[in-house]
Symmetry: C2
Subunit: 425 residues, 2 copies
């Protein structure tokens, strides 16, 4: 069967999944947990094949690729966590009496079919399957090719688990080649959402090559602005955390803006802290005169996403400068301000048009788990559907259910009845 | 200035608009009302030019094109209504304490720049401008070419009104040619949403020719299912309203499904009612044997959107037949069931995956005003962002605002602090 045929045949399973009870979906998640434990030796041995093939790759990739007892344990906990989250489906989002006995409800429903393309991380496959199952969606998966054997083994074990449950095993579909990915990008109207994770250029490629809605973000050019009314000690601490706590994450900062009134006192403190962390500093003209570093020659450098211990530093003379800089160079993912001036904080929060706008805290908090969303599907910089860290609700849509008693519009159009519109929620 | 240059220069006005108070946006809406009254003779005379040019067009088009004292009065009421609606911006949608003093909020914000392409109806221009203003969005407009002079006059009057307010007049931009429309469709990343209204093929054209998110619907193939446990008298009343109350509306039915157990008793009643209304009936084999009509020869006919007093009638033998029919032929806009069996109604509401799923009432209720949304931007059959009738909230996005006190992620990653995640809403 081609991948398109597989997806078309799964389409019929959508209804079973969307009308399944939360209980049976949670039971299926726990069945996957049990089956992973029962088949762990098989999974470990398949993972070893991938590790052997990846012998020449960097440690960071091999570390993500590894699926051992420890990663298994984390996955089991994560499955239990997802099973215990509240049901994202059938939530009543609006409820209104229109007139007499006519009751209108808007309830959450699954999106339908989601395609997810992600890194070479076998544990990610398990998490994605559990989130799709929890939210009642058919899931079409493609993991990084380095994890091919591990993913195939996990996929088989998951399907084996599902055969013991009420959930159709083919709600999860595995893509194994790049041509599968190209093929599914044309299935607009069949696949409801594509979620790509990976490099900037990869996400951009997906966005440019499909008319299916895409959830995610390509760039993560985040910033920290140190205001003239900032507590400078806090500012240093936040800057170090935002840059160094995990430099390759999308929510790490690439740019530090500082108000000229405090630049002379702040930048030497920052330099000392960054030098301890071996951060390479790129400085604009004013910053260069104060702390040296590599001179920024071209404003286009502010678009750079280093994803490493490297940063652009720029001195600004007003909040308007900050807004103008962000409007031009921010990817509107996460931007943060350090200030003790409440009015400045308010204007900043109101004026900066980014998915996450932070005050006096590290940009690294931009994350579904830290936000308390239970689980994270990804971070969206789109303004449509879901913005910022996306939890299970981002995998749902809604429908309107109107229940009447023989009601017709002509009675209202001709003045015999009138709408009352009474909110019931 | 080209249309792209106009839009790029308005981009800078986005921040003024998004941080404007509800009061100043409402004042601007009322200023437009006053300016329309002050300039009504000019608007009427420009509208007369359009009517003269449209002398050979059908009455239905000329009726929509007309902007007279009566339409003006309706527009003034509609402006007052929109001004009095609650502010869709700065609504706190989620609020959570993450740990100690760290407070996370998700608040509604404008989408940014919206392009709307609509029919030759001058009153629609006024309504669209008021909805965009209320929701703090820059609006790029294109009305049907038959209304060219009227739209230009209204646009001038609206800008004149805005010059007397805090809202920048160029938040509203008028497109006057088809080439303007082609040009803006390429402004992905600048325009946040396109809302096309008009014929099926026009909406489809827009959807196929832009990577900007599109809100709307191309097809409106809606259905009514008369169950074996239906009150047949109510069913006839609902069928007549759903088909005849306004046949050219997208929420009118094109298909009537009837359970075989009641087809012999129901279809003659339906036929009598439809004949009084001059409805042309297309019947499947079983329906034909009972009430005649035009025989349906090819199942593809079920995709037909008549938009007129014409209907397809099909006899089914189970709920599964209904689901299979809808999965294949419904445009998932609005589908309704007539039944007195509560369990059947429940299964139908749960299983039918359409934007609007109705029980014992006319499909014609699928409308933002009737739903109590205050004002309707359009009806979306997309599962992303907004589904079904879309009110002002469909023109908003949200952002996350996290306010802390020097908090860093390393404290949490290294176990010195723990997330509490306490919902505050």
């Amino acid at each position: 069967m081609s991948i398109t045929e597989e997806i078309l045949s799964a389409k019929e399973k959508k209804r079973i999944l969307s009308s399944s009870s939360a209980e049976s979906r949670n039971k299926a998640i726990l069945a996957i947990r049990d089956e992973l434990v029962a088949n762990k030796e098989y999974i470990f041995s398949e993972n070893q094949k991938d590790l052997d093939n990846a012998a020449s790759l960097p440690d960071s990739i091999r570390h993500r690729l590894l699926f051992d007892q420890k990663k298994l344990k984390q996955s089991l906990i994560s499955l239990e966590d997802v099973a215990s989250l509240s049901d994202p489906l059938d939530k009543v989002l609006e409820k209104r009496s229109l007139c007499d006995e006519m009751i209108l409800k808007r309830v959450s429903v699954p999106l339908g079919i989601i395609a997810m393309i992600f890194e070479a991380r076998p544990d990610a496959l398990i998490q994605i399957v559990s989130l799709a199952l929890k939210s009642g969606n058919v899931i079409v998966l493609k993991g990084g090719k380095e994890a091919k054997n591990s993913n195939r083994a996990l996929f088989e074990v998951i399907r084996k688990a599902l055969r013991k449950t009420d959930i159709p095993e083919d709600f999860v579909i595995l893509m194994e080649s790049h041509s599968d990915v190209s093929e599914i990008l044309s299935l607009s109207g069949i696949i409801d959402l594509v979620i790509p994770r990976g490099s900037n250029s990869f996400v951009r490629y997906i966005m440019d090559n499909t008319s299916i809605p895409v959830l995610g973000h390509a760039d993560g050019v985040c910033s920290l602005y140190v205001d003239k009314d900032a507590d400078l000690e806090k500012a240093v601490k936040i800057a170090v955390d935002s840059k160094c706590q995990y430099p390759s994450a999308c929510n790490s900062i690439e740019t530090l803006l500082v108000h000229e009134d405090v630049s002379e006192s702040f930048l030497p403190l920052l330099k000392a802290a960054f030098e301890k962390e071996n951060v390479v500093m790129h400085s604009d003209k004013k910053a260069f005169s104060l702390i040296g570093g590599i001179k920024i020659e071209d404003d286009e450098e502010y678009r750079m996403e280093f994803l490493d211990k490297e940063i652009n530093i720029k001195v600004v003379s007003s909040l308007s400068d900050v807004f103008a800089h962000l409007e031009r160079y921010s990817s509107h993912h996460t931007d943060s301000i350090v200030t003790d001036n409440k009015e400045t904080a308010r204007v900043y929060a109101e004026s900066v048009d980014s998915a996450d706008v932070f005050i006096n805290c590290s940009t690294r908090f931009a994350d579904g788990y830290r936000f308390g969303l239970g689980a994270e599907v990804g971070i969206s910089t789109s303004k449509i559907h879901a913005r910022g860290p996306v939890g299970l609700m981002g995998l749902t849509s809604s429908k309107w259910i109107l229940s009447g008693c023989g009601d017709v519009v002509s009675d209202f159009a001709e003045g015999r009845r009138k709408f009352a519109h009474k909110d019931l929620l």
